[in-house]
Symmetry: C2
Subunit: 750 residues, 2 copies
């Protein structure tokens, strides 16, 4: 806390100087010279100093240091001239009272517990206030049972197990991290009758297989454990007790027992050092080839009664307060149009990379915007900077805030812009495709400090070179890179604070980071996600921390100051068109596969092919994928493409010359156009998710599923849903197109 005060002191002095310098100065010239002044105020030294302070103690939700960080930011934001406050909520957040995991047969080996200190990493021994490895919102319990290796623990893995005559009923499932979101693994284990679940980090992808283990390199050492949340965020994120509403003091609450997003079985995460002691002892059949990880023995499925594990978790389930830091800079021209920008501040332990490397970039931006403001500039729109608490357990800080302020946000917010940690490397941007062109425009104006070309040029070069080297590069990205066109945005799934804004409220959202040159990112959610790890491996000198600030700052400035926010709807329409193509291809591939599989079953081919010494049953029979009612959706996409193209063309021609009244009308029509993608019914099994274009996958978790109502229905063979949601999507897209037509009429003065 001493360092914090010093920093605030130093910053305040600067701020005062800035305020003095800026006093009475007229509004600075907008555009690029403004951005150059913004850039000049971005300092890696600032970021390093804040990061050092904020990572000096564990900063998980409800820890004293997490609160101290919030308070430090509050003071800093204020010192920079922002109208800042802390918004507090009371949320369910379990902290472990005890965690036990041990091998009990064929021999006794205690496992688990806190990660050990590594001498080079001077915070790694500061465990007094640190929580041990655990996963939030597992179910507590005390079980002893057989162990079964379930690969990634996803639906296909349970099918493979069943074909080998193995189940997890009454047993403990051990799954490796990867392929799908963490929380799906224990959820599916529970649904298949397991009494407990262990999730471990396999070294093939997350350890020595990726790079030298820490501290020699940046990958996960054998002692490191990936903590995380297993709240069922695919159903809804945020406080498990208050879906859809803010977790204010007086809010109506579910109980832990009635909340559908809290698991019922005990679950613990595990290091590969510990996991190897379990997996190497498993008997039973050898695993299928693609289940093998990187441990130096032959993987077996187990489940034959030879290996027994004792797993017990007991948690403190009291409500805990969380602290969202909210800073507002009022817009001079459109105060009721908000540009919202956020990053969270809670970590699992020290949280240097995740989330604080992104949070200090956000702080740099806020400081620079403050300096601009003190020098006389004012944004046209209101800018809201937020540093969320409790992202880690389930996007809680942002979700509760979004739910609590839902009406205001739906009435005022223009966009939500998120970051969540950073590494060195190339630009990665995901989000609402009407802002795709803006991102490439911004990226063309930010210089990469390594390659000395724009970050856009570097991304294109890296995409093309990657494809030439045989890396897995998306075709759309490669085509764009080759043509020198705008780089496509990825679709947003979940895993960070944009979810409530995009998928519940329908605000257009962006998520921005740099990365790819870290060798492995093996610090993730471990005690070794520290200042030392971050500044030694992930982004030495926080060079890319400043690049992130300059990138996001430009996005904020350009949206905040534009006469009309820089959206290009043709990009959105084209992208939705490719999603529809994908969904149709999925359906026809499924039909073809279904027919092929039925023929093979009919012919007894699986039986004839099977090795009698290691029998594998035929895949189960499944209902055949039919043809779907896509006509309305086809028409809607065609309409959307026409309307978007026509609007973009009209705006390109007349957009600069609108009078104030038409401008106001136009902006009113466009401000909430993305909210038209919501359908209030929401998605099947999860009405909280209302966006008909973007959602996290029910069986991918973080990974996006676009046109989810149809895509997932086909994947999960809910064929009636596929038809129904094709209609719902058609409806929202048609409304979106109609809004664009109305906007075009305004632009064209009709």
């Amino acid at each position: 806390m001493r360092q914090v005060r010093q920093l605030i002191g130093a910053v305040s002095a600067l701020a005062v100087a800035g305020a003095l310098a800026g006093a009475g100065v007229a509004a600075a010239p907008a555009g690029k010279s403004l951005e150059a002044r913004f850039d000049a105020a971005i300092s890696a030294q600032d970021q390093l100093g804040w990061l050092k302070t904020m990572t000096s103690e564990p900063n998980h939700v409800s820890s004293p240091h997490d609160k101290a960080n919030a308070e430090m930011m509050l003071a800093l934001f204020k010192s920079w001239g922002w109208d800042a406050r802390i918004d507090t909520f009371q949320v369910l957040y379990p902290t472990p009272i005890s965690t036990t995991v041990e091998l009990v047969a064929p021999e006794h080996i205690p496992l688990g517990g806190q990660e050990p200190a590594i001498p080079e990493d001077d915070t790694s021994g500061k465990t007094a206030n640190a929580l041990p490895p655990y996963v939030a919102f597992q179910g507590d319990g005390d079980v002893t049972a057989d162990l079964v290796y379930v690969n990634y623990g996803l639906p296909a893995d349970y099918e493979a197990l069943a074909r080998r005559g193995i189940d997890v009923k009454g047993k403990i499932a051990i799954a490796r991290y990867g392929a799908g979101w963490r929380g799906l693994k224990p959820k599916l284990a529970q649904e298949h009758g397991a009494v407990g679940c262990i999730i471990y980090s396999d070294p093939a992808q997350d350890g020595y297989g990726a790079s030298d283990p820490y501290p020699k390199g940046d990958s996960r050492p054998s002692t490191a454990v990936q903590r995380g949340s297993v709240e069922d965020m695919t159903t809804f994120p945020g406080d498990p007790l208050t879906p859809g509403v803010g977790a204010t003091e007086g809010a109506q609450r579910l109980t832990k027992e009635t909340s559908p997003v809290v698991l019922k079985i005990p679950v613990l995460p595990m290091s590969y050092g510990d996991a190897s002691k379990l997996l190497s002892r498993l008997g039973g059949e050898r695993v299928p080839d693609n289940w093998r990880g990187g441990l130096p023995f032959t993987y077996h499925i187990g489940g034959d009664g030879a290996v027994k594990v004792h797993l017990a978790v007991k948690s403190d389930w009291t409500l805990k307060p969380i602290y969202d830091v909210i800073a507002v800079m009022k817009g001079a021209k459109y105060p009721d149009q908000w540009v919202v920008r956020g990053n969270h501040h809670d970590g699992w332990v020290f949280g240097a990379q995740d989330p604080l490397s992104g949070n200090v970039a956000l702080m740099s931006e806020a400081k620079a915007l403050g300096q601009l403001a003190k020098s006389g500039w004012r944004p046209a729109r209101t800018i809201v900077y937020a540093s969320w608490d409790a992202e880690e357990p389930g996007l809680i800080g942002s979700t509760e805030w979004a739910e609590a302020h839902a009406d205001e946000l739906k009435a005022k917010a223009v966009i939500y812009i998120n970051t969540d940690g950073n590494h060195r490397g190339t630009l990665s941007a995901e989000g609402s495709h009407d802002f795709q062109h803006l991102i490439s425009e911004v990226a063309a104006d930010v210089t990469d400090p390594e390659a000395k070309v724009s970050v856009l040029e570097r991304l294109r070069a890296s995409t093309r070179a990657g494809a030439a080297e045989g890396e897995n590069v998306s075709r759309a990205a490669l085509e764009a890179a080759e043509k020198g066109g705008d780089m496509p945005l990825g679709a947003l799934g979940s895993g960070s604070d944009y979810s409530a804004f995009l998928q519940h409220l329908g605000l257009p959202s962006l998520n921005i980071a740099y990365g790819g040159e870290e060798q492995s990112g093996g610090e993730y959610h471990s005690i070794y996600d520290s200042y030392y790890h971050m500044t030694t491996f992930d982004d030495p000198g926080l060079v890319y921390g400043t690049v992130l600030s300059k990138t996001v700052g430009r996005v904020v400035l350009r949206i905040a100051d534009a006469d009309t926010p820089p959206q290009r709807f043709g990009d959105f329409a084209t992208t939705v068109g490719t999603y529809l193509d994908e969904v149709k291809r999925l359906a026809s591939e499924r039909r073809e596969q279904d027919a092929k599989l039925a023929a093979l079953r009919e012919a007894g081919a699986f039986g004839a092919a099977s090795d009698p010494l290691h029998p594998v049953a035929a895949p189960p029979a499944k209902p055949t994928t039919p043809y779907f009612e896509f006509a309305a959706l086809d028409n809607a996409v065609a309409t959307l493409k026409r309307s978007a193209g026509a609007y973009d063309a009209a705006f390109a021609k007349h957009g600069a010359d609108l009078d104030a009244s038409r401008r106001e009308k136009l902006n009113a029509l466009l401000r909430d156009v993305d909210q038209l993608l919501l359908d209030d019914t929401g998605l099947p099994f999860r009405p909280w998710y209302k966006n008909m274009v973007y959602a996290p996958g029910r069986f991918t978790g973080y990974g996006a599923k676009t046109l989810p109502g149809v895509r997932e229905a086909i994947e999960e063979r809910r064929f009636d849903d596929a038809n129904a949601y094709a209609g719902r999507i058609a409806k929202v897209l048609t409304a979106y197109a109609a809004r664009l037509d109305a906007a075009r009429a305004v632009v064209e003065g009709k």
Copy 2:
């Protein structure tokens, strides 16, 4: 030797009984009832007995037991009624006097030496007469130098090293087994300036990554070493001193120093137990992702001077005698048309799977044919059974025999049929495509003992089920399996005794085996390739040994007894057509890649994409692939397809009704038709290889390259060669088509 005598005694008694029973019996009915009688004479107990005896001592070339095995077979063949003899050659075959490999810096660790005994495997301790792990035809020497990991040690790997600023000049290269033939690795290391080479078995594919290490499972344990030959067989196989002629006593000989197929640098193979001690200590850059193996640490390239290895090999380079067992059963009708059938008998140590599991199947066939003969049947054509010596060091026994008998073979042989070890599983057949249909016909008549369907049906089922499970299945095989058509033969490269027959003499050849249900085949070329390993894991009870006998026996019988050998030339023509398509696709893909790469270099994309902390230079500029002169080849293939189709149709119509004179004329025209595929100039850099359709790849070794003169010229950017060989291939195919036209004229009575 005691057991051998007992066996011969027992067999002789049986043989006498058989001879008595058959005495005076008239010629048995031909065809299926003959095959049923053949099957009845195939005994797994026989095979187990022979295998036990033959694997009781080390049987490498020049070992007493290898000679004893030959002599035992000689006696057995004679006892079964064959006209048998042993043909001897004097060949260069180095045996190690001393092998040394040790880590000398940063610390001293002795490595290498004989593989240790495993209690379950009762021959694994019999090391008195066993050679230690080594590779034949390395160059001897004594070097101490830095170590560099070169991945598989193939050309692309050296390009990747160069892009990272690393070379192997004056250093020792350590390569993992896999991706290309063993001998290419030290050859390329030597060409790149390395002073020594180590080849090790990585556990990812050949160890615990595949299945449980022996003796728990069948995969390579950490102590096992893959021996082998590094004679440059891609230039020519056989005795290194007598290319093109038999290594008879008086043959003119090169010296070891002047032979182009003996390496100049010392080379040793290594276990992964030993290799991990070297690789785990290497510094320098982290390897590219696809260079990673299965050892539990991060792989580095080394070459930074920190790890030094001492490698020394000294060999006895005297000539050694080898013993080919040759058994002849004279044809009753066409004594000057030979069906040649072989398998080798030398192993690296005990050689149970490789080669003796195939050799005892061959013995079963010979015994059964002998019984048929003693019961009165006589083959129409002469049958020659051969058990080769010295296959392991370089196909020496078969090559010297083929070279010594070249004129007679070219004048008389109808086909060469090879096996070389066996496992349990599905049928695998490769060879000359005019015999493709015969193989499927035979496979339809052999029952799989596990699946209780024909081995053809099982292969189809396994192909279809494999594709459905996402395995890598060739499209041609899948289409054939789905249609219930003939299963395509693979093309023959090298790695067993068919090479001289097919690629030097132009005889049509086949190679047949069962496999795929062994879990890993980790015994390969180690001391653990033993009776215990074979009968515990590879083919318990030698059940598939009997299936192999029944399969190959049918092929032999059907060719030996046919009025005209069962060839179908349309299959060959179609297959050559697909090879030409592949070659053209290769050329256009290369053109496209070349253009893309040039554009990327031009744009500086590799520089912009490169991580400055881990720089990788752009791929080197290469001459652009031009368009080739394919017209003559296109015309030749079209002509071949027409002629083959017309011949097949004519033969189907009239083939059964030919009078003796036309039959004789026809058979004379077809007997050597496959020899027309030879061009006496041979292939570039390797005139010994004269077959213009089938060859082992210069940079794959065992793997086949079809239309090699063109395909490899494109791959290696020898563009003039590509044009020249397109012309040569066109010429041989046109001659082949003309011969078929002549044959059709005979069939049609014109």
